[in-house]
C-alpha cells in the first residue's frame, strides 16, 4: 500500500481510499446482449439460484452472489462475461454505433472488444489488435465464446499499426485501453503492486503515448478516441493526454458518466498539464466500490 502514498495529495478521504484498496472486489459480470437480453440472463441466474444485483447506471452490469460466475449455465452459453464494473466504462463512453468501424488498439483478452461488438449489435467492424500472441488466443477464445462475428483480429505493435490489410483508410472511433501499471487492480490482484517501480511507470507511459498518437492518426476527422487505464499515476494518465494534445490534432471533450468520479488533475509532483485534462475522469475504489480507473474522451480535429 505504501506505493499508493504518493497519491495522497490527489485523493480526498485518503484513509477510505486505502481501506477500499484492501477489500476484495464484488463479483461483477456483463450481460452479453449478442446472445441474451438482460431479462433472459437474469432469469437463467434465478433458475440456478444465483442471486444478482443490478446497477443503476447500466442494465447489462450485474453483481453476482457467487465467487465463480463461470460455473453457471448463463456463462457456459456466453450470456454473461466476468468483467469488472469500471472496465465497462470506456466502451460505453466510446458509444460505437451499429455499422461503424472501430479500432480496439489493445484488445486482449477481449472484455472490451466483445462489449464494443455488443454495443454495435454485432455489425460494422471491430478491428481488435494486440501485440502479444499469447494474449491473442484469449481474445480469440472470448470473441467466439460470446458469439461475436463482426471482429477482425490483428497482431501488431499498435504504435506502428497499419490499415493496409483493410479496404478503408480510417476508423470512425478508437478505444485505447493501454497496458499500464495496473494500480487500480489491487483489489482484484493484491500482488499487482509488487513489481511497481517509477522506472516501469515512465517506460509504460512512453508506450502509451505512442499508442494514443497512432490511434488519433488512424481515426477520421471528427471521430472519437477514448483513452483509458486502470491506474492512478498522472504520468500514465493526464501526462499522456497532455502529450497527445501537444503533438496531434485533437481535443478533449466533456462527457457524462453516471458513476461518482473526480476530474483529471492539472498538476502533480511539480509537473503541470493542459487545463483541459480536467475533462477526463478518475474513478476511485472508495467512491463506487469498484477498482480504480481513468477515462478520457477525445475528438480528432484533423
Amino acid at each position: 500500500m505504501e506505493k499508493l502514498e504518493r497519491y495522497e495529495p490527489l485523493v480526498e478521504d485518503f484513509d477510505a481510499f486505502l481501506d477500499a484498496c484492501q477489500r476484495p472486489l464484488p463479483s461483477v459480470v456483463r450481460v452479453n446482449t449478442i446472445k441474451a437480453t438482460p431479462e433472459r440472463a437474469t432469469a437463467a441466474l434465478d433458475e440456478e439460484g444465483v442471486d444478482w444485483t443490478g446497477r443503476e447506471w447500466s442494465d447489462t452490469v450485474l453483481e453476482l452472489d457467487t465467487d465463480s460466475p463461470g460455473s453457471t449455465w448463463a456463462s457456459y452459453h456466453g450470456w454473461i462475461h466476468g468483467q469488472e464494473e469500471v472496465s465497462a466504462i470506456p466502451a460505453e463512453v466510446l458509444a460505437p454505433e451499429p455499422g461503424e468501424r472501430v479500432w480496439d488498439a489493445c484488445a486482449a483478452p477481449g472484455s472490451k472488444t466483445t462489449q464494443l461488438a455488443a454495443l454495435m449489435d454485432d455489425s460494422g467492424l471491430v478491428v481488435a489488435n494486440d501485440n502479444n500472441l499469447g494474449r491473442l488466443s484469449a481474445l480469440r477464445f472470448n470473441t467466439e465464446r460470446l458469439g461475436v462475428t463482426n471482429a477482425a483480429v490483428t497482431n501488431t505493435d499498435s504504435r506502428n499499426f497499419s490499415l493496409k490489410p483493410f479496404d478503408f483508410d480510417s476508423f470512425d472511433k478508437a478505444l485505447v485501453d493501454v497496458p499500464c501499471s495496473c494500480e487500480g487492480t489491487i483489489r482484484k490482484n493484491p500482488t499487482a503492486l509488487d513489481d511497481w517501480t517509477m522506472d516501469h511507470v515512465r517506460s509504460v507511459a512512453g508506450v502509451q503515448k505512442g499508442i494514443l498518437r497512432r490511434a488519433i492518426q488512424a481515426t477520421k476527422e471528427g471521430g472519437t478516441v477514448v483513452y483509458s487505464t486502470c491506474t492512478f499515476a498522472p504520468e500514465e494518465n493526464e501526462a499522456v493526454l497532455d502529450h497527445a494534445l501537444d503533438v496531434e490534432d485533437c481535443r478533449l471533450v466533456e462527457f457524462d458518466f453516471p458513476l461518482d468520479s473526480r476530474p483529471g488533475v492539472t498538476e502533480f509532483e511539480g509537473e503541470a498539464y493542459d487545463e483541459s485534462v480536467r475533462k477526463a475522469k478518475r474513478f476511485y475504489p472508495h467512491h463506487n466500490d469498484t477498482g480504480g480507473f481513468f477515462c478520457a474522451k477525445l475528438e480528432v480535429t484533423g
Binding site: 433458475e47 457456459y76 452459453h77 455489425s123 463482426n150 483480429v153 483493410f166
Partner: protein
C-alpha cells in the same frame, strides 16, 4: 521466367490468409474449396436453417477446410489472425460445425435438434459421451436444453451407434 515450380499451377489454398468463399462452383478457382452456396445448402439441409439467415454474412477459408463467418465484408484476400468466428470444417467426409457457431446460429435450427434434460446437458458440457434414445438421423446434431423459458443450443453433438458424443472443446467444457 519464374522457376519456383508454380508457373501455370492453378491457385491453391494458402493457410496463412483468409480468402472469401466463391459464390458458386462456377466461380471456384481453388480446388476443393467450399462455395458459399454449398455452405448455405449444408445448414439448410442439415438443420433447416434458411439461407436468408446468413444474408448479411460472408464466408472465408483460412487453414485447410476451416470456414469462418464474418458479419459484413472486408477485402479478400486478407492476412490477419482471425476474422469473425470459426464456423464449419469442410474438406472432410462429413462437414462439422463448431460449438460456437451452433450456439450462435443453432437457435434457428428446426431439424436434427436433440433436446437434452438438465442432467444430460450437464454431461454434455463436461465433455462426456452418453447413451441416447434418438431415432432421428445419425451425424452432427444441435444439442439443446431448455433455459430461461426457451430451448437454447449447447453446441454440436455427434450421434452414432446409440451414443451422443460431446465434441465440446476442452476450453469450453464446464462442470456445472
Amino acid at each position: 521466367m519464374s522457376d519456383d515450380g508454380r508457373t501455370g499451377d492453378s491457385p491453391t489454398n494458402d493457410g496463412q490468409r483468409f480468402d472469401r468463399l466463391p459464390a458458386t462452383a462456377d466461380d471456384r478457382e481453388v480446388e476443393g474449396r467450399a462455395t458459399r452456396e454449398e455452405v448455405l445448402d449444408w445448414w439448410d439441409q442439415r438443420f433447416a436453417i434458411p439461407p436468408e439467415s446468413f444474408e448479411e454474412y460472408t464466408f472465408w477459408e483460412k487453414g485447410k477446410g476451416k470456414i469462418w463467418i464474418l458479419r459484413g465484408d472486408v477485402a479478400s484476400p486478407i492476412r490477419i489472425e482471425a476474422l469473425g468466428m470459426k464456423f464449419l470444417r469442410t474438406r472432410q467426409e462429413h462437414w462439422k460445425p463448431t460449438t460456437n457457431a451452433v450456439q450462435r446460429f443453432g437457435r434457428e435450427a428446426s431439424e436434427n435438434v436433440v433436446e437434452l434434460t438438465r442432467e444430460q446437458a450437464r454431461r454434455f458440457v463436461s465433455g462426456e459421451d452418453q447413451e441416447l434414445d434418438w431415432d432421428g438421423d445419425w451425424g452432427y446434431l444441435v444439442a439443446a436444453h431448455e433455459l430461461a423459458g426457451e430451448l437454447e443450443p449447447l453446441g454440436v453433438g455427434l450421434f452414432v451407434h446409440g451414443e451422443l458424443k460431446s465434441p465440446v472443446p476442452k476450453g469450453r467444457q464446464r462442470d456445472l
